[in-house]
Amino acid sequence: MARHVVLYVVVHQPRRLKLPAQPIPPGARPRDIARCLFDEELNRHYFQKAASNCYHPATALFRRLADEGLCLSIGFSFSILRQAQAWDQELMARFQDLVAHPNVELVGVEPYHSFIPLIDLPHFVKRMQWARDNLHKIFGQRPQVTDTTEMMMSDAIYVALEKAGFRGALMDGRPWVMEWREPSHIYHGCGNLKLLTRHTRLSDDVGYRFSNRGWSGWPLMADAYAHWIKETAGDVVLLAWDYETFGEHHARETGIFEFLAHLPGELSKRGVDFLTPSQALDLYADRAYHLPLPPWGCTWAGEGGLEFFLGNASQQAGFRLMLSAYNKALLTGNKTLIDLALWLAQSDNLHTIQWDGRSGSEAEVSAYFTPGEWWQKLGAGGILREMQQVYANFLKAMDCLP
């Protein structure tokens, strides 16, 4: 029976591509190239919507709960931080205030939420170190435990994270990865880096199923959920969600905020205490178990395999374009272009086209994350075509730099 629970939330908004693809004038300066690649108006629109529905109310609630004893771990992509700094300074201050709370631990995230861990591991190591240093500058905390992008993990990513100097990492505890093991223990791979494995079912009960009226667990109440957690075999249950779960993926009207507000009390009643990831490692690292990591990688998205991002022909074409863009940018030696290529390598750009040729709940989730404006303007075929055109335009633009 679990005695501890670790809550982790990750805050992220993508830097969406500009569709239909905007032609890039030959000789365009990097600033103007960026203007053609990314739709900042659309980004602002979605950011403001999420800020209103989720970021402001959820942050206020988490802050209050932290005062009451809730321990929280939180990760930020630099994609969301960039947007908050540009468009909502008040929110930025609220995030900083939340992270400054003694019960809150800052967790590292791949800064651009990109596929760099699949593309260039040495650079991934540097990016994670860069993220740690820059998170320290923004929040005054240097993360010891880290997430990646979409909680991707593999044997190779594990090695890179250890090399980057982290003490622990988060990964999804899918049954096909865990095999006979419970996700509610601390693990390690081939090195000393400790692994906290997300309890997939319990996390998804809230993350995906909370507002699903067709689900047998609906309506989910805090007492029932606390009971399930308490009844879980193991030491520590890691529950990990998108921050946007609260108010955005599940609207306020579903009762998600009330659920969250009551959860600490219900857990406390059952003798389940909160820990931050570092506290969990302090407590349980000595009896960490070995977990063989999949060489092909796993993620918290979809069924847990990278086929969620690379499973259809459009995604594979997109990934090849990401590779070309990144490697060609490396050849230019131009730091700004390399930076743009990293933005183009955001996992969201493949997440949003997972629906191509598929149906079912995963495709529905993917389609939900695809901006409605794109559906309206371009339709399915147009989205796929124009998305590829963005990369083609960028590749061509690098041929005629000023």
Binding site: P20, Q22, P23, P25, G27, A28, D32, R35
Partner: protein, 447 residues
């Protein structure tokens, strides 16, 4: 509709900047927007402007506001308005609808005014549809009148006609165009093109005599057009050669463009036994132009390689025995109309012109063949009094097509549509004149 209760917005790729002036469209929108502003209407002209000029530029005491759009794109395309056309088109379509809504439409509506948007040419077709959709989404569509105008058939295949016709009122510049567009399922309203009233000023007869005296020809022909097969250059040359063979001293004053067809035309001239000389005016202005032509007087074809300003053109039109506006296909022949306004004899093309009545105010060709040019010229040579009468009638006809008149026509059609779509309710109305005043005015007219 009055200047107090309506605002005009003209949308076009071309505009008044040198950078933006590629063909007749730049001149059209410049003159149209000036005429609207001159009538007192607050007018915005939004175009692909020179990247090095101010983004906003007030003219005519603030009544005309130029918006230079796409400047950040244009800086990478220094040659002119149509370089990087697709990149500019993207910027136009994507960025303008919201700008127009927030910066032009809403302020106009807040002031109780009607917004009239005039989109020119295929480049603005998509934008006009999107603007209509956006206004509709905001519940403001019936407070604006949207006219989209075709000056020619260029890139018609890129227009979604069903959508455009549903969202906009489609206009064009001639009945010829209207009938062409019928095949697309569109019933366009005809609002003719215009000419500046300055073209109607009397041409200095001293200059006219000077041209005629220095050329010392029996017949002076003039042709100003792009080097384009549609423009009838070869027929003009064949006519010139035929007249020369008939023993007449004849010259063709030719001002073409930069198009490659010019090489073919000049080659044909040589093949037909015509002597061709280039005329370069070292400087701007009428004096330099006339001197350059005089230096090439021995030739059969004077290929004018310098820019011709309106002053010089008017002298040449007036001095010529025929201005060959003999295009095989002409949506609206401005050269013919300008020639008529200058007191010249226009020979218009086989597609017909709404302003042209054969042997009343000009010569209208039926076939586009060179024999028609020759026979009509010989007829007029034999009947100089007919030619003089036609020159007078031509100026009279041209007066109906000044921009002032065209704008009156345009405003009346806009008003008709505004009334039809219920846009006039709610806009500030002009004070009605007292009945007595109206009676007095009517009586004065009758007297």
């Amino acid at each position: 509709m009055t200047p107090d209760n309506s605002v005009f917005l003209v949308l076009s790729f071309e505009g008044p900047d040198k950078y933006s002036m590629a063909g007749g469209l730049g001149m059209r929108v410049t003159q149209l927007s000036h005429a609207l502003a001159k009538k007192g209407f607050p007018t915005h002209l939004l175009f692909v402007g020179d990247p090095h000029m101010p983004a906003r530029d007030y003219r005519m005491g603030g009544r005309l506001l130029l918006h230079r759009w796409c400047q950040w794109v244009s800086q990478y395309y220094p040659t002119g308005v149509y370089e990087g056309e697709e990149a500019k088109l993207y910027d136009f379509n994507e960025s303008l609808p919201h700008f127009i809504l927030e910066q032009i439409a809403r302020p106009a509506f807040s002031a109780g005014k009607l917004l009239v948007v005039l989109g020119e040419e295929w480049h603005t077709a998509e934008l006009m549809c999107r603007l209509s959709d956006l206004l509709h989404d905001e519940g403001l569509r019936n407070r604006a009148v949207l006219f989209w105008n075709a000056n020619n058939t260029m890139s018609f295949h890129r227009i979604n006609w069903g959508r455009l016709a549903f969202t906009n009122t489609i206009t064009t510049v001639s009945k010829y165009m209207k009938h062409l567009m019928w095949d697309l399922g569109v019933n366009a309203h005809v609002i003719p093109n215009g000419i500046p009233s300055a073209v109607l000023q009397k041409v200095d007869e001293g200059d006219v005599a000077r041209v005629r005296n220095c050329l010392k020809k029996d017949l002076i022909l003039c042709k100003v057009a792009r080097w384009d097969p549609d423009k009838g250059w070869n027929a003009a040359l064949e006519a010139t050669a035929a007249l020369k063979r008939a023993g007449l001293k004849v010259v063709l004053l030719a001002r073409g463009g930069i198009e490659p067809h010019g090489q073919e035309v000049l080659h044909n001239a040589s093949r037909l036994g015509l002597r061709v000389s280039d005329a370069w005016a070292g400087a701007e202005g009428r004096e330099a132009c006339l001197s350059a032509i005089a230096r090439a007087a021995d030739s059969d074809v004077v290929n004018i390689r310098s820019h011709l300003d309106l002053d010089s053109l008017r002298v040449l039109y007036r001095a010529s025995h025929a201005v060959l506006a003999n295009s095989g296909r002409e949506p609206f022949g401005l050269v013919g109309l300008e020639a008529m306004a200058s007191g010249g004899v226009a020979f218009t093309g086989a597609t017909g012109e709404d302003y042209a009545i054969h042997k009343r105010n000009c010569v209208v060709h039926e076939t586009g063949g060179s024999w028609e040019i020759v026979s009509n010229l010989l007829y007029l040579q034999d009947h100089p009094e007919e030619a003089e009468r036609m020159r007078r009638a031509a100026r009279h006809s041209a007066r109906l097509f000044t921009w002032e008149k065209v704008v009156e026509n345009l405003v009346s059609k806009v008003e008709q549509h505004a009334r039809n779509q219920g846009s006039l309710t709610g806009i500030a109305r002009a004070e009605p004149k007292a009945l007595e005043t109206r009676v007095l005015v009517a009586a004065g007219r009758a007297a």
